[in-house]
Symmetry: C2
DNA sequence: CATGGATTGGGTCGAACGGTCCATATAGCG
DNA sequence: CGCTATATGGACCGTTCGACCCAATCCATG
């Protein structure tokens, strides 16, 4: 059974080129939309299997159009097309329910593969975007790697206990020290983390990866 | 210039099959290691451009071997091979410095492409793993996506203000309400979030994605 | 129209918090 | 041998916090 494909892009040349090459790849191109709003209404009446949707379009951008189509025609899978490998846009497209994300300079074979995968419920990503996502993962990992111990071991224990829900007296009991010592540690922490109360101190500690959120 | 490729896998059949098909794709297969430890020492002496490394190997697993090779031979790029699309292993491989991650049932063309990309410093991901990563993104997004508003809009504002470092009176000034109302909102929040003070409430709110950490 | 939630506000009171003084002891470092 | 950081503790005090009462308004839902 041939896959019923719909295109949504504001560039006529790109639409025609895509239409031709996708037809050659065995897809049934059932419709072409010129902007996001048209894409949504056309998707409702045509109920294609897959839509190839440009991110940037007049009237309504591709991400919002994707969201609306997903609500109106849940069975239709959407593969987003974009000019640049933008991590932020990618994340938004995923939130909007996109089943694939390709940069426009990829080959027609890649596009065809992504459409087939989308129709199977799988997800396809351009290598450029995969790399972009990996960079994000790496960045997120870099931060907590630093061994610059800003707070002492004992202060860290106090912070973690408070983050775990202990009051001053409970921290004291748990660490076998007096409440005063806990307060002293806290006062030291406030200076070091530029916090004025335990709430800010714990939040800052979480941001810095000093304590964990359970 | 041909790319000098090294293989590391504990299955002879897979090594020989890979070696043959990679040679046919124009790579120069300079070495084959049977376990992680051998891979590290062999990488040091051969300094290949790219290593195709299995994740699961005796002596030393591929992720650890990857880490060590990256330390000893920084110029060598590593593409990981795995049987299953495991998000956790993927994350560890990225941390270890892998430049690609493929599941073993992908085509030799894909492997060849990944090796070429790795040698260029790019990153390649199996579609299955891209999908796995996207699932993670979606999962992370799902939580805050729910419209089960546990705290009211106003309560959320109070929480965010406190997370931003405001005291009760500052929140009151900022929201143009009395301190008492702020306290009332907080009391309501404590019940809903099962917290006994603002520290716990804000932490819980962060966990639930209700407030952001700046 | 009644019910209930959301938002606003008040008062009281004991407990907790944060800051300021202070002291002691034990390391580690030049 | 001092100097500094860390860890421990005490006393005091003003501020803040959270719990427990209360009530008025608005608004949506039934």
């Amino acid at each position: 059974m041939t896959i019923r494909l719909m295109l949504a892009d504001d560039h006529r040349m790109l639409r025609e080129g895509l239409s031709r090459s996708m037809s050659e790849h065995g897809f049934d191109v059932v419709g072409e939309a010129r902007d996001g709003a048209e894409a949504v209404s056309m998707a409702c009446s045509l109920t294609p299997d897959v839509i190839l949707m440009d991110v940037s379009m007049p009237e309504m951008d591709g991400v919002e159009a994707c969201r609306q189509v997903r609500l109106s025609v849940p069975g239709t899978k959407i593969v987003m097309l974009t000019m640049h490998a933008d991590q932020e846009v990618l994340a938004n497209a995923i939130r909007a329910g996109a089943c694939g994300y390709l940069v426009k300079d990829c080959s027609t074979e890649e596009i065809a593969g992504a459409v087939r995968m989308a129709s199977n419920g799988d997800t396809a990503l351009s290598p450029q975007l995969a790399a972009s996502m990996l960079d994000e993962v790496r960045k997120l990992d870099r931060a907590p790697t630093r061994e610059e111990r800003v707070v002492t071991k004992r202060e860290e224990e106090v912070l973690q206990s408070i983050a775990d829900g202990c009051s001053t007296s409970e921290v004291a009991d748990q660490m076998y020290i007096s409440q005063k010592t806990v307060k002293n540690h806290l006062a030291s922490i406030y200076q070091k983390l530029d916090a004025r109360d335990r709430t800010q101190a714990v939040l800052q500690a979480v941001r810095m990866g000093i304590v964990s959120l359970e």
